[in-house]
C-alpha cells in the first residue's frame, strides 16, 4: 500500500518497521522519547515500543555515541539521534576513535553497526550552529559510511538499509526539506542500497552531482538551463561515502562536463573529492574543467544574511552556463 509521506513521516515509518521486526533496535537521543524529537521524527514511537526501546538521554552527545558503541558490541542495534548536526561535534572523538574503528581494532570480532541520524543544513532561519553541513568531515573517517537522502522514499529505504547494515552509518537528514517534499511511499518494508547513486534526470550537456536539499535546487536550475537549450543530467549521490564513482563516470563520459553542487563550504568539501576522482578516471572525456557550486568558506550566516550563503538555482545555472560555454 502507498501513502503520501513527507521525509519526517518516511523516517518515522522506517523506524517503526525496524522497531517492530527487530527487538535489538533501540532508539534514543535528546528529546526523542516523550516529545518525539524536536522535529517530531520519532513521534509516537515511545508509546508504541515502550521507554526501554525509545527514550530520552541525558544531554551529552559523546555519552550518547559512546553508550551506543557498548550496546552495539553487546549485540543491540542502536539508532541514535543527534539533535542537530552541529551538536554531533562533541561526539567526534567517540565516532572517530571507536564507532568507526571497533571492527578493525578487534579484527572483526566486535561490530558497531549502528545508525547515527541527525537533521542538517541551512535555510530554516535558525540560530547559530543549527545550519552547518559537515558531511565531508565524517566522510573522511575510515570505517564510517555517510548517507544523505533527498526524498521521502529514499529516506525510508536508505534508513532501513542503514539499520540492517553491519557498518556504522552516519545518516544526515536535510531538514529544510523535512516537510517540503511529499510523495507516495510504499508503507511496507523496502530498502534502497547504500553506496549507489541514482541518475534522476537524463541529459547530454553537463552532469550535475548533488544530494539532499540541493537536488531540488538543481532541478530548478535545469529548468532554467533547458530554456537556453542546455540539457542537464542530474545524479543524486545519496551516499557520500562510499562514492558511486561508476555512475558518475559513466555520465561524464557521455556529457563531458561535471558540476558538483553542495551547500557545505567549498574548500576540502565533497565537491573536491568528486571532481578530483572523476578527473582521474575520465580525464580524456572532459571538455571543460569540473566545477563546484557550493557555500562560501565562511561560517553560515544568521538568517538575515543566510540567503547569500545558500546555493540557489540561479547560482547553479550561472555555473552551468559558464561550464557549457567553456
Amino acid at each position: 500500500m502507498k501513502q503520501i509521506m513527507n521525509m519526517v513521516n518516511a523516517i518515522n515509518n522506517a523506524l517503526d518497521i525496524k522497531l517492530a521486526e527487530d527487538d535489538r533496535v533501540i532508539v534514543y537521543g535528546e528529546d526523542v522519547g516523550v516529545e518525539g524529537g524536536v522535529f517530531r521524527v520519532t513521534e509516537g514511537l515511545q508509546k508504541k515500543y515502550g521507554a526501554e526501546r525509545v527514550f530520552d538521554s541525558p544531554l551529552a552527545e559523546s555519552g550518547i555515541a559512546g553508550t551506543a558503541v557498548g550496546m552495539a558490541v553487546a549485540g543491540l542495534k542502536p539508532v541514535i539521534e543527534m539533535q542537530f548536526s552541529g551538536f554531533a561535534n562533541p561526539a567526534f572523538n567517540q565516532v572517530v576513535s571507536h564507532v568507526s574503528r571497533m571492527r578493525n581494532r578487534s579484527r572483526g570480532k566486535y561490530s558497531t553497526g549502528m545508525v547515527i541520524r541527525m537533521p542538517y543544513g541551512g535555510g530554516i532561519n535558525a540560530l547559530e550552529h543549527h545550519s552547518e553541513s559537515l558531511e565531508a568531515i565524517w566522510a573522511h573517517i575510515p570505517g564510517l559510511k555517510v548517507v544523505i537522502p533527498s526524498t521521502p522514499h529514499d529516506a525510508k529505504g536508505l534508513l532501513i538499509s542503514a539499520i540492517e547494515s553491519d557498518d556504522p552509518i552516519w545518516f544526515m537528514e536535510p531538514k529544510r526539506i523535512y516537510r517540503a517534499i511529499k510523495q507516495e511511499v510504499e508503507t511496507e518494508k523496502f530498502t534502497v542500497p547504500i553506496g549507489k547513486a541514482k541518475v534522476i534526470q537524463e541529459g547530454t550537456d553537463v552532469t550535475i552531482v548533488a544530494y539532499g536539499a540541493m537536488i531540488r535546487e538543481v532541478q530548478k536550475a535545469s529548468v532554467l538551463a533547458k530554456k537556453e537549450g542546455i540539457s542537464v543530467e542530474i545524479i543524486d549521490l545519496r551516499t557520500i561515502y562510499p562514492i558511486d564513482k561508476e555512475t558518475i563516470v559513466d555520465s561524464v563520459k557521455k556529457t563531458g562536463r561535471i558540476i558538483t553542487v553542495h551547500e557545505a563550504i567549498r574548500t576540502f568539501g565533497v565537491g573536491a573529492e568528486i571532481n578530483a576522482s572523476i578527473t582521474e578516471e575520465a580525464f580524456l572525456y572532459l571538455e571543460a574543467p569540473p566545477k563546484r557550486v557550493t557555500g562560501f568558506d565562511i561560517i553560515v550566516p544568521l538568517p538575515k544574511n543566510e540567503p547569500h550563503f545558500m546555493v540557489t538555482p540561479e547560482k547553479i545555472f550561472y555555473e552551468i552556463v559558464r561550464t557549457v560555454k567553456f
Binding site: E30, D31, V34, E35, G36, V38, D56, S57, P58, L59, A60, S62, G63, G86, F87, N89, P90, N125, A126, L127, E128, H129, H130, L224, R266, T267, F296, D297, I298, I299, P301, L302, P303, K304, N305, E306, H308, F309, E314, K315, F317, Y318
Partner: protein
C-alpha cells in the same frame, strides 16, 4: 557563612522568603537597601515584559526562535545587582536580566533573534561574550578568563551560566574541574529549571541536585531557591566576595522553573502537566518579591500597571528600531571569518558580486 550552613551534603535549599514574600530566614536576609530591591524588581519586571512582548512579535512572524526567561527572572535579577562593570559575563542564552545589566540594549537582543550577527557585538557592554548555543561549551571559556584574571592579578570575577541539561555535558565537568585546579575566580550559575527542552531533570542525572557536584571538584557549592530574589542575591553576593578574596570558584544551583516554552517553537503541553505548571506559578519570583515590596509599602498595583505601560512603549520603540536596522553589507558575511582574509575567500567574495551583477543583468 552560608556555604557552611548550606553545605550541599546537608540537602538543604537556601531560602529567605516564602511563596508569599514573608521572610522565613531572617538570619540570612541580605543587607540591601529598599531602593536596590525595588530596582531589582523593576529589572525583573522589565525582563518579563520584554519576554511577553517578544512572544507576541514572534506570533506575528516579526522575530525568529527565542528562548524566554519567564519564571526565572530572579536569577539574572540578582546577578544584575552584584555584577560590576569590570566583571565578565559568559552567558548561555536564557539570562536576559544579566545581559541588560551588563550593558546590552534590548535592541541588540532583538537584532540577534531577528538574525543579525551584529546583535551580539554589544556596543556598550565590556567583558561580555556573545551567547553560546552549544550547550555547556561556554563554561571552559569562563575558566580561561579566570586564569587571565589571576595571571594579571586583576580584581575581576567571571559569571557564567548553564542549564540543568547542560550539566550532563563533558564540558561542564572539564570546566569545573579546571576551575578547581586553577582556583579560578568563576561563579558557575546553574539555572535548574527542571527541563532541558522536554527532558525532565531526573533524566539528566541521578545525583541529588547539582550543587552536590561541587564535591567532585573540591569547590564551594550551594543550592538556592532561584525564585527567591533575596536568597539569590545573598548567594551571589557571598560568592562574589569569596571569589574576590581568592577563595576560588563557586557552583550555585538555582532551583527554578521554566514557566514558558523552551523556545518560541516549543510546545510544553506535549511533555508536562498543567498541575505542575500551576504548582510552580505559586513560587513565581516576581509574585514573591512583589508581595514583599507591597507588604513594606514600597510598591503597589497601580505603579506596576504604569510601569508595564511604560516598559511596553520602550520595548516597542527598541523593537521597531531593530526592525528598521536594514541590510548589512554583503562583505560582513566574509570579513569576520579571519583577521587576515585568505586570497581564496576574497576571490569568492568577488565572484559572488560578479554573479549578482550577472543575475541582475539576466533579470533572474
Amino acid at each position: 557563612m552560608i556555604f557552611k550552613e548550606y553545605d550541599p551534603i546537608k540537602k538543604k535549599m537556601f531560602q529567605v522568603i516564602d511563596n508569599d514574600g514573608k521572610v522565613i530566614n531572617p538570619k540570612y536576609m541580605p543587607e540591601i537597601s529598599d531602593e536596590l530591591v525595588l530596582k531589582a524588581y523593576k529589572d525583573m519586571l522589565f525582563a518579563r515584559t520584554s519576554d511577553l512582548m517578544i512572544l507576541s512579535y514572534q506570533r506575528q512572524g516579526r522575530i525568529f526562535t527565542y528562548p524566554p526567561n519567564y519564571g526565572q527572572e530572579a536569577i539574572s535579577g540578582a546577578v544584575a545587582q552584584v555584577m560590576r562593570k569590570e566583571d565578565w559575563l559568559v552567558p548561555a542564552f536564557r539570562e536576559m536580566g544579566a545581559y541588560l545589566a551588563k550593558g546590552a540594549s534590548l535592541k541588540e537582543i532583538f537584532l540577534y533573534f531577528m538574525g543579525y550577527e551584529d546583535g551580539v557585538n554589544f556596543k556598550n557592554a565590556e567583558n561580555f561574550l556573545p551567547y553560546s548555543v552549544p550547550i555547556a561549551s561556554q563554561l571552559p571559556h569562563a575558566v580561561g578568563i579566570g586564569y587571565e584574571i589571576k595571571y594579571k592579578k586583576k580584581d575581576q570575577i567571571v559569571f557564567t551560566f548553564v542549564g540543568d541539561g547542560g550539566t550532563s555535558e563533558g564540558d561542564f565537568h572539564e570546566a569545573l574541574n579546571f576551575a578547581g585546579v586553577w582556583n579560578a575566580p568563576v561563579i558557575f550559575i546553574v539555572q535548574n529549571n527542571q527541563y532541558g527542552i522536554s527532558t525532565p531533570f531526573k533524566v539528566q542525572t541521578a545525583s541529588e541536585g547539582i550543587a552536590i557536584k561541587s564535591y567532585a571538584y573540591g569547590i564551594k557549592g550551594i543550592q538556592v531557591d532561584g525564585n527567591d530574589f533575596f536568597a539569590m542575591y545573598k548567594a551571589v553576593k557571598e560568592s562574589h566576595e569569596s571569589a574576590r578574596r581568592g577563595e576560588g570558584p563557586v557552583l550555585i544551583e538555582a532551583i527554578t522553573y521554566r514557566r514558558g516554552p523552551h523556545t518560541t517553537s516549543d510546545d510544553p503541553t506535549k511533555y508536562r502537566l498543567n498541575a505542575e505548571e500551576e504548582a510552580w506559578a505559586e513560587k513565581d519570583p516576581l509574585k514573591r518579591l512583589k508581595a514583599w515590596l507591597i507588604d513594606r509599602e514600597l510598591y503597589d498595583e497601580e505603579t506596576e500597571q504604569k510601569l508595564i505601560e511604560d516598559y511596553k512603549k520602550e520595548i516597542d520603540r527598541q523593537f521597531i528600531e531593530a526592525e528598521n536596522y536594514g541590510p548589512v553589507p554583503i562583505e560582513d558575511i566574509f570579513k569576520y571569518t579571519y583577521a587576515d582574509m585568505p586570497e581564496d575567500l576574497k576571490q569568492q567574495m568577488v565572484e559572488y558580486q560578479k554573479f549578482l551583477q550577472w543575475k541582475e543583468a539576466r533579470g533572474l
